[in-house]
Structure formats: structure tokens, C-alpha cells
């Protein structure tokens, strides 16, 4: 609450700054005069002449010129006289009293995040330690590797860590060194490829594709490499090839493989609907169904979720899941509607609203 108090105080100061001069009488507000400048100039000429900086004759000429200006200025000044406008002053006072808070409030509420507290790093104890120690560990390993640049095992430990914290170029370099000094393996080639893809903001570049192909040559079942070859195909506009690659992966997948949902989502993206990540049991039970039955079942599940959220709208995660499900089903309009409904349902709570906004943005809405 002290934040709003501070805002109110600041607004009051701002309004006061406008009102203050309005309340003062005209006599107190005196400006400078142009004629004052010329009078000073005349004095200056006298001083210069007596100091011997200019000759008396020149001084006289200057005095004549300046006097001419002085006369003109004095004439202009007598014409003007102040005319107080009480009504207008009151109008300005009202504008300041009402307008300032409206402008300030309007802009601030659109742009600001009053619900978020300050988070200086010093107050975020635990997390900082973790991050700092990770940085430190990386620093130590790097220092070690600078002395022993041919330690392939060191490089292969460092590479995935660098990739995790987002230093993709460094990670790619580390993978290359690992391959150079500690042998060529499918996992390292795939890791290198992934680092290159991440460094290129998710685009499977020609270099990355070569790495994935090398990885599958070494081990035809290398999951990451095969997945990314699918992504490469998708990005080349060959959706069917991508679907074939991923379908083959799913067919051979061991039950409970952790990467299954990812591949299924990818498959759904290219249009070969094998819908939202379902549990093994559900999938098993859908095996005997026809295509239309299966879609109907999924629709049913989605509708149940929607009904539940209608009754209890606080569940931001649930809303996001619903929106995602509509997106996967290819129903963009309904997804957008769900997003709108979610916004209304959690509208009161700023923190949740932000979480929702972030989530929706991540889904591309």
C-alpha cells in the first residue's frame, strides 16, 4: 500500500507545482526588461572608455547606437500591461487537479507493473548462491581446460552445461573439442548440432544438419539427431518427410520414453494428428479406435477441461493447457476465445494475469 501512498504524494507535488503560481498576485511576478540590457550596455561603454579600452570617439558612436535601441525597446515595453484572467486561471487549476492524475494514471496503469516488488540481487539469497556457484564451477573447469586444452573429457563435461545456461557458441566449441580429443560419438555430434541450432535461434542450419547426419550414421537410433532431422525437414517445407521420420521414431519408441510428448507435439504440428500428450494407458485404449472415434474422445476430454475451468477459473495452468489443446487441434479461433475467457476469469489477480500473458505469448497468441 505504501507504493500507492507514494504515487499519491508525488501526484500532489506535481499538482502543487501547477497551482502555486496561479495563486500568486501579479506584483510578485516580475520579469526582466529588454531596456535593462541596453542600460547595462551604456554603463559598459562608459566603463570601457574610462579604462581606455576604446577611444572616446568610438564610445560616443556606440552610445548613440545603443540609445537608439533603448528608445525603441522602452516604447515597446510601455505598450504592454498585464491583464489578469481569473476565469482562465481557475480552468487551468481544474485541468491540473483532474488532468494530471488522469494522464499519469492512464499511462502508468497501461505500462507499469505495480504488483511486482523490487528484486535486488542481494535480497534473493538462495538462488544467487546456486547461480554464482555454477558460474564459478564453469570458471574453474575453463581455467583447467586453458592449461590442458587436450582434455577431451573435460570438454565433454563442460559442453552440456554451457548449453544449458544459454552460451551456445561456447557450447558448440566445447563439443568440437570433445570430439577432437576424446573421440567421435553420436551423442556428441547430436549435442554439437543442437548447440548450433540454438545459436541460430532454432533454425537447423546446413552445418547443424551435417552434424545430425553424422550422428545418425554413427548410431541410427540417436534420438536427438533424428528428431532434429525431422525439424530440418519441416523447416525445408517437407512436412511429410518430417512426419515420416517422427512417426518411425514413435513406432520404435520404448514405452515410457521421456521424449515421446515432444515428438508427438511435433507430429501434431505438421498435421499428422496424434494429439496432446496423453498417458500410456489412454493411448493404449485408443489403439483399437477408428480415427473419428479417437478425435471425438479427445474433443470430449478438452470439453471437460473447458467446463471445469468455467466453474473454477483460478487455474492458470489449466487455462494454458486448454489453449494449447485447441492450438494442437488446429482450432486457432477457439484457442483465442479460450485465452480471452482466461483473461476475464483471472482478471483480478495481477500476478496470475502476468503468468497467463507470458504463457499465451509462448504459445504464439
Amino acid at each position: 500500500m505504501s507504493l500507492w501512498f507514494l504515487f499519491a504524494l508525488m501526484t500532489a507535488v506535481a499538482i502543487f507545482a501547477v497551482l502555486w503560481p496561479l495563486g500568486r498576485t501579479a506584483q510578485q511576478a516580475k520579469g526582466g526588461r529588454e531596456s535593462a540590457v541596453y542600460k547595462d550596455q551604456l554603463d559598459e561603454v562608459d566603463r570601457d572608455v574610462s579604462a581606455g579600452l576604446i577611444r572616446p570617439a568610438e564610445g560616443e558612436a556606440a552610445r548613440v547606437e545603443i540609445s537608439r535601441r533603448l528608445l525603441a525597446a522602452a516604447e515597446a515595453e510601455t505598450e504592454t500591461h498585464a491583464t489578469p484572467r481569473i476565469g482562465l486561471r481557475r480552468a487551468v487549476a481544474i485541468v491540473a487537479l483532474v488532468g494530471l492524475p488522469i494522464i499519469a494514471g492512464g499511462f502508468y496503469l497501461r505500462l507499469g507493473s505495480p504488483q511486482l516488488p523490487d528484486m535486488p540481487l542481494a535480497d534473493r539469497g538462495s538462488g544467487q548462491g546456486a547461480s554464482a556457484s555454477l558460474e564459478q564451477l564453469i570458471g574453474q573447469v575453463r581455467a583447467h581446460l586453458e592449461k590442458n586444452p587436450t582434455d577431451g573429457r573435460g570438454w565433454s563435461v563442460l559442453a552440456p552445461v554451457l548449453e544449458r545456461i544459454g552460451r551456445f557458441d561456447d557450447a558448440a566449441e566445447a563439443y568440437r573439442n570433445a570430439i577432437k580429443y576424446d573421440g567421435d560419438t553420436a551423442i556428441r555430434r547430436a549435442g554439437l548440432g543442437e548447440a548450433l541450432v540454438s545459436a541460430a535461434n532454432g533454425v537447423v542450419t546446413a552445418d547443424a544438419k551435417v552434424e545430425f547426419e553424422r550422428a545418425t550414421a554413427l548410431d541410427p537410433d540417436e534420438v536427438k539427431a533424428r528428431y532434429f532431422l525431422g525439424v530440418a525437414a519441416e523447416q525445408d517445407g517437407r512436412g511429410k518427410d518430417a512426419a515420416a521420420i517422427w512417426q518411425a521414431m514413435l513406432d520404435k519408441a520404448p514405452p515410457g520414453a521421456p521424449w515421446r510428448p515432444v515428438v508427438e507435439a511435433a507430429l501434431a504440428r505438421v498435421g499428422a494428428a496424434k494429439l496432446p500428450a496423453l498417458s500410456e494407458d489412454t493411448i493404449a485404449s485408443t489403439k483399437d479406435m477408428t480415427e473419428s472415434d479417437r478425435t471425438a474422445m479427445i474433443r470430449g476430454m478438452v470439453d471437460r477441461l473447458a467446463t471445469r475451468l468455467k466453474q473454477n477459473g483460478d487455474d492458470v495452468e489449466g487455462w494454458l493447457r486448454l489453449v494449447r489443446a485447441y492450438m494442437v487441434l488446429g482450432d486457432r479461433d477457439q484457442a483465442r476465445d479460450a485465452g480471452e475467457a482466461a483473461r476475464k476469469a483471472v482478471g483480478q489477480d495481477e500476478a496470475r494475469l502476468l503468468q497467463l500473458k507470458d504463457g499465451l505469448k509462448a504459445l504464439g497468441l
Binding site: 506535481a14 520579469g31 561603454v45 568610438e58 494522464i103 505500462l111 544467487q128
Partner: protein
């Protein structure tokens, strides 16, 4: 709470700027003093709130509050404190906040110290300032808001561009902005004069301190930027005719012209319409500079981010202010009363020549900077207009300018005596000729023009001193009287001497550095010795060191001359892991105004390292000159006396001639 309070303060400043833009104009129109006085209190309140907002952003950077997007993107918790502070304006959003803070600072200064201004003029000036502030507050809030928050605050920031992690960032941008933005006051005065439809010598008196202040800061800002580029970029170059540099040079040239034409206006009530136009053009060029640098049209170390909406927004601001003020000028200028007349050979005449040459030089830079951009937009063809173009066009304009420079102060107002001035410059010309002759006989190599250029520089410096000697009648009256006269001289006269001499000093530095510098690029292993310009440099060792947020490759060079050790140089290469970028930290060793310069290249496979070694004679004079100029400006600024240009009455002048 700091972040949100800072954000709210910025929004309040926008509200106050809006009121400041409108109410005083109405007040001036209806002659209501209270309404005009609103300008003053709102300007001060605006300064208070922008100041709070800026301090809030500094506090957020210092405490590494990564819930603020701007801090996350440009800071790092391990950065040294000074770079946490300077990093506030080492990015687009923060630097724009600094821009408006300085704008509000100047507005507040006019409100505080503008007691001598007529009420309506002050109201108009502050209202125009309000328009400018409003535009830039909107720009910041809508497209470049430094107070946007992240719901999930990251644990670590992305660090500042390593090239900017240097003390230069603490000095160069604030100085440059004080210059750029300072010219907004001259602009506001010009627009206010156009609105009021009246302009006199008094106007020039009032606007003088503001123009001088802006010019001083801009001079220092450009010089410091150049020195920073010189030691940080590792190539030993100090001016590249890069569009960003040109963007700061153009307002400087126009501002220098404005400074001189305002003198004519103050003393002789002439050149009034032209002075107004120059005031408008100078700030317009400052705005253009801001647009070029901030819109992402140019890629350089200054373009922090490229976001098309920002470019479009600044372009709109640019069109509004430049177009609006020039339209107003076209509409009202004819109504302004013309000033007095003067003969071509006179102080006024020489200042007109100065203005012609400076504005032409400015136009040259303008064409050279914008033509390639325009061509690329229209045809997609990329050309680069570099040093050859500017050397061919800029130099021919500056040579006559510098030749004429010593004559100006020696000519009398209204009617001058060119022959007399030339006679008084005999000594200066003699000094210049001797310098040329000695240099031709003594130095080998380099361009044949170099000794001539140095002769010109000597002529300028000696000319400035001649002016001083003339004014205190040195050698014509006993020394104590000369001394008394020198002390009694207006400080503005001393300012002229220093500023003009500064130009000559800088020219000596420029010519020496570009003609006689020695360069050696080689690969050295520890204990190897390199020989440059009579110095022997031994590479002692190559070591690795860990800094706060970088790792560093440090080398030690022992420098000997004629067997005597004169110093140790430690150039290094820093590797910044967070941004995976590296910088070269060149080592400098000054010998008088000359410098030895070592910067490191890449490490070679055989344990050696590539090094670039330069010997740069007289290089420090390049920056010492502008410092002298700024010092001259400061002297002139502290001169609070009124200025009168005493005309020389035609008859008496002739009558007095034989007496001299």
C-alpha cells in the same frame, strides 16, 4: 518500489511537460502573468521528477534488480560498480532517459536563472522546451521504456557490451548530450522570438550563455569520444569520418557558426534573421544526429538496438520539429526587423565569412553522411563515402577559414582596415614561414603539404597571440601598463585567444600524427625485441589473469630508448564470457605530446602473439586543442559583462591613423 516509483515519476513528468507546453503560451497571448509563471514551476517540477526517475534507474542497476528488463539486458552482477552506474546510459533506453534528464536540467536552469528575461519570452522559451520534452517522453514511454518489468526475474544479467566497459562511457555520452541538448535552448529562444515576432540585440545577450555552454560541452564531448575510440578500438585511429562521428560534427560546425553570428547580433544588432536560422539548424542537426544514432539506420557501437518503430517515431519527432520550426521561420522571418548595415571589410564581414565557410563545411559533411544512406534507400546500392571525400572537400574549406581566422579579431567593427590588420600580422606570418622552412630542411618523408599545414597552424596560434599583444599594447607601452591592460581585458577576449589558438594546436597534432606516424605489425615471442622510431620494446612475458567478469591475456613490454629504460607497457586482451566477446586494451606511453601505442592481436600457434606498435608524434595535441577551445569557451562564459561593439567613426578613424 524503486522501479515503479521511477516509472511513475517519468509519467508525471510527461503530464507536467504537457501543461508546460500549453498553459504558458495561452498566458503570453492573453498577457496573464500567473499563467506565464506556470512555465517556471512546471519546468522545475519536471526536473525534479525526471531526476528522480533517472536516480531510480541508477539504483536499479547498482542493486542488479534483474526484474527490470533493461537491467537484465545490460548489466551483470559481477560488473564493477562504476560500470554498473555508467551502464545506465550504455544502452538505448537508459541513454534516452539521460537525454530527457539533461533536457529537463536545461529547462530547470532557464527557469531558475532566467530572471533577467521578459516574462513572455521566458514563458515561450519554456513552452517550446515543453514541446520537445513531451515528444521525447512519449518516445521513451511508448517505444523505449527502461522500466518494463519481467515477471520471472532471471538470476543473472546479459552484461554490457565489453567495448563500453571503460571509463570513457562515464565521460563521453554525458558531455556529448549536454552539448546536443544544450542547443535545444538556443532553438527554443529562436522559436520563441519567431512566435513573438520581435528580435533584438538583447535576445543575443540572453541566449549567449546557453549557446556557449552547449558548444563547450559538445567540443569536449566530441574530443573525448575521439580519444576513447583511439585507445579502446585498438587501431590507433582517432577520427574515421564515420556517420556517427559526422552526426556530432555537424551540430558542432553549425553551433560554432551560431556562436560567431550571435556576437554580431549582440554587438551590432545585425545578422538577426540569419542567427535565428542557425539556432534552428543547429538543434535540428542535433536531432538528426540522435535519429541517425538511435534509429538503427547505422550500425555501430552506438546503435544499441534496432527496432523499426523507434526509427519511425524519432523520424516523426524530427519532421515535426525541423519542419515546424522552418515553416514558422519562413512565415515569420520576413516580418522581423532587419538589422544595421556594415562594410564587407569589417569585424562583421569577417564573421560572415566565418559563417559562410563553416556552414558550407557543415553542408559538405551533411551530404557525405546522408548521400550514401539515401542512395541505399532508393536504389539499394551500397557505397561508402570515406576519408578521401571528406579530405578533398573539408580541407579546402578549412584552409581559407584558418587563414582568415587571425584577421577577424584584428578588424574593427563596422569599417575595418584590412591592410592595417595584415601589417599587424607580419610577425605571425614570419613565425609561420620560419616554421615551414625549418620543417622542409629538417624532416624527411611524408607529404610536401605537411610543413605548409603546420605553418598555417603556427600562423593561427601566433595570430591569436598577436591579437592579445595588440589589445594590451605590448612593446608599445611600458610592460607594467601592458600587464595592467591585459588584466583589464574582458575575459571574452582571452576566451577568443584560447579558442583560436586551440584550433591551431589541434591542427599541428592532426598533421604530425597523420604524416609522420610509424607503424609496426609483427608477431613476437617472449624476449623478442621490436624497434620502432628509435625505441626498443622487449616483450617480457605473456600471462593469463582473471578479472571480475572477464579473463585477460596480459603482456609486459619494457621500453628502452638509447639503452635507458623509460617505462613498462602492459597491453592486454580481455575475453568477456557472458557476451562471448573480446576487447583489446591498448597500452599507451606518453613522451611529451607524443605517444607509443601497443595493442595485441591474436595468439600465434608457436607461442607468439601478434602485436601492433605505433609511434604517434604530437598525437596528444589533437585533443589538447579542443580542451583549449572549451577552456576559451569557459572563460567567455564567466564573462558576465555586456558586450558592445564600438563602431569606428569613419572620419576620426582616418584622423587617428597616423598616430599609431
Amino acid at each position: 518500489m524503486i522501479a515503479e516509483a521511477g516509472h511513475y515519476a517519468l509519467v508525471l513528468a510527461l503530464g507536467l511537460a504537457l501543461i508546460q507546453s500549453i498553459v504558458p503560451v495561452i498566458g503570453a497571448k492573453l498577457r496573464d502573468t500567473a499563467l506565464m509563471q506556470v512555465a517556471r514551476s512546471t519546468a522545475l517540477a519536471q526536473l525534479l521528477f525526471v531526476g528522480l526517475s533517472f536516480l531510480a534507474l541508477v539504483a536499479l542497476h547498482v542493486t542488479s534488480d534483474f526484474s527490470v528488463a533493461n537491467v537484465y539486458e545490460n548489466s551483470h552482477s559481477l560488473k564493477p560498480l562504476i560500470y554498473k552506474i555508467t551502464g545506465v546510459w550504455g544502452n538505448h533506453e537508459g541513454s534516452m532517459l539521460l537525454w530527457v534528464s539533461i533536457l529537463a536540467l536545461f529547462g530547470g536552469l532557464v527557469a531558475t536563472f532566467g530572471n533577467n528575461l521578459p516574462l513572455s519570452l521566458r514563458a515561450h522559451v519554456l513552452a517550446v522546451q515543453g514541446w520537445i520534452s513531451t515528444a521525447f517522453y512519449l518516445f521513451i514511454l511508448v517505444t523505449s521504456n527502461p522500466f518494463l518489468r519481467l515477471a520471472n526475474a532471471p538470476m543473472e544479467g546479459r552484461d554490457l557490451n565489453p567495448v563500453l566497459q571503460d571509463v570513457g562511457l562515464a565521460v563521453h555520452p554525458p558531455l556529448l548530450y549536454l552539448g546536443y541538448v544544450g542547443f535545444s535552448i538556443s532553438f527554443s529562444f529562436a522559436v520563441a522570438a519567431l512566435i513573438e515576432g520581435r528580435i533584438d540585440a538583447a535576445w543575443a545577450r540572453w541566449v549567449r550563455p546557453w549557446t556557449l555552454m552547449a558548444w563547450m560541452f559538445l567540443t569536449l564531448g566530441i574530443a573525448m569520444g575521439s580519444y576513447w575510440a583511439y585507445y579502446e578500438l585498438g587501431w590507433g585511429g582517432w577520427w574515421f569520418w564515420d556517420p556517427v562521428e559526422n552526426a556530432s560534427l555537424m551540430p558542432w560546425l553549425a553551433g560554432t557558426a551560431l556562436l560567431h553570428s550571435a556576437v554580431v547580433m549582440e554587438k551590432r544588432n545585425a545578422l538577426k534573421v540569419w542567427t535565428i536560422l542557425l539556432a534552428i539548424l543547429t538543434f535540428s542537426l542535433s536531432l538528426l544526429g540522435t535519429f541517425l544514432v538511435r534509429s538503427g539506420v547505422l550500425t555501430s557501437v552506438h546503435a544499441f538496438a534496432t527496432d523499426p518503430t523507434r526509427g519511425v517515431f524519432i523520424l516523426l519527432i524530427l519532421c515535426f520539429f525541423i519542419g515546424g520550426s522552418l515553416t514558422l521561420y519562413a512565415w515569420r522571418a520576413s516580418a522581423l526587423k532587419q538589422g544595421g548595415l556594415f562594410a564587407p571589410i569589417s569585424r562583421e564581414g569577417s564573421l560572415v565569412l566565418n559563417n559562410l565557410l563553416l556552414t558550407t563545411a557543415c553542408a559538405t559533411v551533411f551530404v557525405g553522411t546522408l548521400y550514401p544512406l539515401g542512395l541505399e534507400v532508393l536504389t539499394g546500392e551500397r557505397i561508402s563515402v570515406g576519408a578521401p571525400f571528406f579530405n578533398l572537400t573539408f580541407a579546402p574549406l578549412f584552409v581559407p577559414l584558418m587563414l582568415a581566422m587571425p584577421f577577424g579579431p584584428l578588424l574593427a567593427w563596422k569599417r575595418g582596415d584590412l591592410l592595417g590588420a595584415a601589417q599587424r600580422l607580419y610577425a605571425a606570418s614570419g613565425a609561420a614561414l620560419i616554421a615551414v622552412a625549418v620543417l622542409w630542411a629538417w624532416v624527411r618523408g611524408g607529404s610536401a603539404f605537411a610543413p605548409l599545414a603546420i605553418g598555417l597552424a603556427i600562423f593561427v596560434i601566433a595570430g591569436a597571440l598577436t591579437d592579445l599583444a595588440e589589445r594590451c599594447m605590448l612593446f608599445r607601452v611600458p610592460l607594467p601598463i601592458s600587464w595592467r591592460r591585459a588584466r583589464g581585458l574582458p575575459r571574452a577576449a582571452w576566451g577568443t585567444v584560447f579558442a583560436h589558438a586551440g584550433v591551431g594546436v589541434a591542427l599541428i597534432g592532426i598533421v604530425c600524427e597523420s604524416t609522420w606516424n610509424t607503424e609496426l605489425i609483427t608477431t613476437l615471442k617472449p624476449n623478442d625485441v621490436a624497434k620502432v622510431a628509435g625505441y626498443e620494446m622487449k616483450l617480457d612475458d605473456i600471462t593469463q589473469r582473471q578479472g571480475p567478469n572477464f579473463s585477460e591475456l596480459v603482456t609486459h613490454f619494457t621500453v628502452t630508448s638509447n639503452g635507458k629504460t623509460i617505462g613498462v607497457m602492459t597491453p592486454s586482451k580481455r575475453n568477456f564470457t557472458t557476451r562471448s566477446a573480446s576487447t583489446t586494451e591498448a597500452a599507451l606511453l606518453s613522451r611529451g605530446p607524443s605517444q607509443l601505442y601497443v595493442s595485441l592481436g591474436d595468439a600465434a600457434a608457436n607461442g607468439g602473439i601478434a602485436v601492433r606498435i605505433y609511434h604517434k608524434p604530437m598525437v596528444l595535441l589533437i585533443w589538447f586543442g579542443p580542451v583549449l577551445m572549451a577552456f576559451g569557451g569557459l572563460l567567455s562564459l564567466t564573462d558576465r559583462r555586456l558586450r558592445v561593439g564600438a563602431p569606428k567613426p569613419a572620419k576620426t578613424a582616418r584622423a587617428l591613423q597616423p598616430a599609431e
